[in-house]
């Protein structure tokens, strides 16, 4: 079709080109901005972008948002050093509560203490395979990493590291994007998919990031290492509940740990028992240490498999709450 133009047409467009100085202008268009122009544009852009840096603080003030960190002061030793909480789990003593003929007591106590919604097991007792076909039980709380992948990826600092070396979540800030769950290599984060199935009395408790009660829909939860209890000299629920005293809680700064029965010097205890950490090659630097074993000190035969499944004692639930599965 382009070949069949009436001459008139051709002529007209030629005329048009001659008449108007427009095309020359456009020809130059690509070079319309000189170096100076670009610099000026960049300068203007920088001035224009400058307010962006001060926007968030202004918005925070305007919206009345608080900087939520560990609400209480960090726990300190007598001479003022900040305590560095740690947990040592002696797998030689952990039989998954097979001998108790009960679901793992640490998990149960944690659930009751924190009103943890079903199906969250903040400290979960996994059954790992051993070479040769036997199994070992591995109670797994949040590993309280010192290079925490979850904290690194959180877009709003809702999950954060504390001076005591633990990781907490502020459920009043969490937006529920769940990137921390994708980032955690230990499967230790839990989401409130619906209205949490928890007893109504938990709703009366004042919320704190160190206790995470009551649960808030659409936010992430996990083991908080019970720093509020530790500060007042109480051991975490899981440590208290362990019938075999397999879990030690302590302070690396003062080099001390206890399972509620005895005291150990944490560093010597770890060294002498060749302690290890989970997925150490990821470089997450967990604060939870393990001493290898399969419950032999509790008299467990590694070929007796399976533990009893965890139950949630909440018979009374919040109206309209439904449970969900992992």
């Amino acid at each position: 079709m382009k070949g069949r133009h009436p001459n008139e047409d051709t002529k007209r467009s030629r005329d048009m080109t001659e008449e108007r100085p427009v095309p020359e202008g456009r020809e130059l268009a690509g070079h319309g901005i000189g170096r100076r122009g670009v610099l000026r544009l960049l300068g203007l852009g920088a001035i224009g972008a400058a307010p962006l840096a001060v926007m968030p603080p202004i918005l925070r003030t305007a919206l009345g948002g608080k900087e939520v960190r560990s609400p209480e002061k960090a726990a300190r030793t007598k001479d003022g050093r900040i305590r560095q909480w740690t947990m040592i789990i002696d797998l030689r003593y952990c039989d998954g509560c097979q001998s108790q003929e009960a679901p793992p007591r640490c998990t149960a106590a944690c659930i009751e203490g924190h009103f943890a919604p079903e199906p969250m097991e903040w400290i979960e007792v996994f059954e790992g395979e051993l070479p040769g076909g036997g199994t070992q039980f591995i109670p797994t709380p949040c590993q309280q990493c010192q290079n925490p992948p979850c904290v690194n990826v959180c877009p709003v600092a809702a999950t954060f590291s504390t001076p005591e070396g633990t990781v907490l979540i502020d459920q009043n800030r969490c937006i529920g994007c769940r990137i921390c769950m994708a980032a955690c290599p230990y499967d230790r984060r839990f989401f409130n998919w619906g209205k949490a199935p928890i007893p109504p009395e938990s709703l009366l408790i004042d919320y704190s990031a160190e206790h995470q009660v009551p649960a808030k829909r659409g936010t992430v939860m996990k083991c908080d290492f019970c720093p509020d209890m530790a500060r007042t000299g109480t051991l975490p629920y899981c440590v208290q509940a362990c019938p075999q005293d397999a879990i030690y809680y302590g302070d690396l700064e003062e080099d001390i740990a206890t399972n509620g029965k005895g005291l150990v010097a944490a560093s010597r205890f770890l060294t002498e028992n060749q302690a290890y950490r989970l997925k150490e090659d990821f470089g997450t630097k967990p604060r939870v240490y393990y001493i290898a074993g399969h419950g032999e000190a509790a008299g467990r035969d590694p070929y007796t498999k399976d533990r009893l499944p965890t139950t949630w004692p909440w018979t009374e639930r919040v109206k309209g709450a439904k449970t969900w599965s992992r």
Partner: protein
């Protein structure tokens, strides 16, 4: 001649346009033509105006259908707002699903505009002109729809502002927010700038034929365009700046989208190639989407004269080139991991190639990479139908790829537990369908209001083609640029 158009009615503007005395009043290459002259340029003008002036019954039916799908999706989402994400199939161990898949897919197809428009503009490939506007619009709409899905996926959409208030630049999510908002802004600018002369044309030609608010809209958006040399120069400079800026922005966008995954310690996502692979996949699916949209609009609005088989075949070649790039990416990605078969990779390879997700993977690899390539490279299917079929396959396959990347990545067990399973619920399917309906609706409405063909650019081409020795064929890249094209 200083004309102040503000405050003047449409009639005034029209009468000035009709008078056609001074070239400065015109709207580019089209000015000064009486309605009687049925040359190619006025045919072009008629084709460009046709969607805006005439509306068929089918159009209303189509819009009604889309609105119904959207309304259903809104209902589904309201259920999600009420009960929480429990209404979805996502759970702790597979904590992302259809929403994130759709988000990644939409951000992917948003690369249509950049590639076709900016890259072809930079390389001065002139055949692009009739399809740039569509490509640019797909970009803007896809970005808006994609961004929506991140918010839909949030557990606490009421706190979405926390991203601004407490945003940490260390988080990949914030990189995404920054990159996508920048890209959206730049894309809107890049859509708008070359549209100004066409908006002025609409303002002048449609006065009295469409409702008054539409004319005021065109009047407002055409920013007093009169086609003066200084205006052409400013616009050219602005377009040049925008097209160069938008390419790195577009690349960054899909790179950081992939980094949402690659910045985690999940075995299948732990890949250095992820960013590049995602960008390639994005352009791949973007071109495919453009081909589909192009084919539909061409049919519906009879644009056969401007969007020819050549456009399909050229874009088909691009698609074929990208099938090779994607195949290379697959080999590069899976061979380096599969050769060593670290812990976790073995599970991943089994689920992807042999077990639960094998159907998805092999559909993607064979149906989405190999078959489209064959369709385009075989001479007897290298036509509009063949290319469109290839494009449909590619889009389906790329959606499936995003799906299995998200799901299988999360599915690899981290601790000794049984692998979780995920199946989307009706809520997720409904919301996703509504997302695609919104995408279609925005494009449908855009076509009704704005020029879907870059009229002045095509007009320039028509003019230059008159002098080209081989009329009907587009000048090759080596041919000297006609006057007025350099800035574009």
């Amino acid at each position: 001649m200083a004309l102040d158009r503000t405050g003047k009615g449409g009639e005034d503007v029209e009468s000035l346009g009709r008078a056609g005395g001074s070239p400065l009043e015109g709207t580019g290459p089209l000015e000064g033509r009486g309605p009687a002259a049925e040359g190619p340029l006025s045919r072009l003008e008629r084709a460009a105006l046709a969607p805006v002036t005439g509306t068929s019954r089918w159009y209303y039916l189509w819009v009604a259908f889309l609105l119904m799908v959207i309304a259903w999706g809104v209902y589904a989402y309201s259920r999600q707002l009420q009960d929480g994400l429990i209404v979805t199939g996502m759970r702790d161990r597979i904590s992302w699903g259809l929403y994130i898949t759709t988000f990644v897919f939409f951000i992917g197809i948003s690369h249509a505009g950049t590639l076709i428009s900016a890259i072809l503009r930079v390389s001065q490939a002139r055949w692009r002109t009739p399809i740039t506007r569509m490509a640019e619009f797909i970009t803007v709409v896809a970005l808006a729809c994609g961004a929506l899905f991140v918010i839909i996926d949030l557990g606490r959409p009421d706190r979405v502002l926390n991203v601004v208030v407490y945003g940490r630049w260390q988080s990949p999510i914030i990189w995404d927010v920054l990159a996508i908002t920048t890209y959206l802004t730049a894309s809107i600018a890049y859509l708008f700038l070359p549209m100004i002369p066409d908006l002025a044309l609409f303002r002048d030609r449609l006065a009295g034929r469409v409702s008054r608010w539409r004319i005021s809209l065109y009047d407002l958006l055409s920013v007093r365009w009169r086609g003066t040399p200084s205006q052409w120069r400013s616009m050219g400079a602005a377009i040049t700046t925008a097209m160069i800026l938008i390419i790195p922005i577009a690349v960054s966008v899909h790179t950081v989208v992939s980094w949402i995954f690659a910045m985690t310690l999940r075995v299948p996502w732990n890949s250095t190639i992820f960013g590049a692979f995602f960008v390639a996949g994005a352009i791949f699916s973007g071109v495919a989407t453009l081909i589909i949209v192009m084919a539909i609009l061409r049919k519906v609005y009879h644009l056969e004269e401007y969007i020819t088989e050549k456009h399909f075949v050229y874009l088909g070649y691009l698609l074929a080139a990208f099938t090779l790039i994607m195949l290379y990416g697959n080999i590069s990605e899976f061979l380096t991991a599969g050769y060593k078969l670290e812990e976790g990779e073995e599970f991943h390879f089994r689920q992807l190639f042999l077990e639960s997700y094998a159907g998805f993977y092999w559909f993607y690899a064979l149906g989405g990479l190999v078959l489209p390539g064959v369709l385009i490279l075989m001479p007897w299917t290298r036509n509009i139908w063949g290319v469109v079929a290839a494009a449909v396959l590619v889009d389906l396959a790329m959606w499936v790829e995003r799906y299995f990347i998200v799901i299988t990545g999360l599915r690899v067990p981290l601790m000794p537990y049984e692998p979780a399973s995920y199946s989307p619920t009706w809520v997720e399917w409904s919301v996703m369908a509504a997302g695609f309906a919104l995408f279609a609706l925005l494009i449908t409405l855009f076509v009704k209001v704005f020029p879907i063909i870059a009229v002045w650019e095509v007009a320039e081409d028509l003019e230059s083609a008159e002098f080209a020795p081989a009329a009907g064929r587009l000048p090759s890249g080596a041919a000297p640029e006609p006057a007025g094209g350099a800035g574009r």
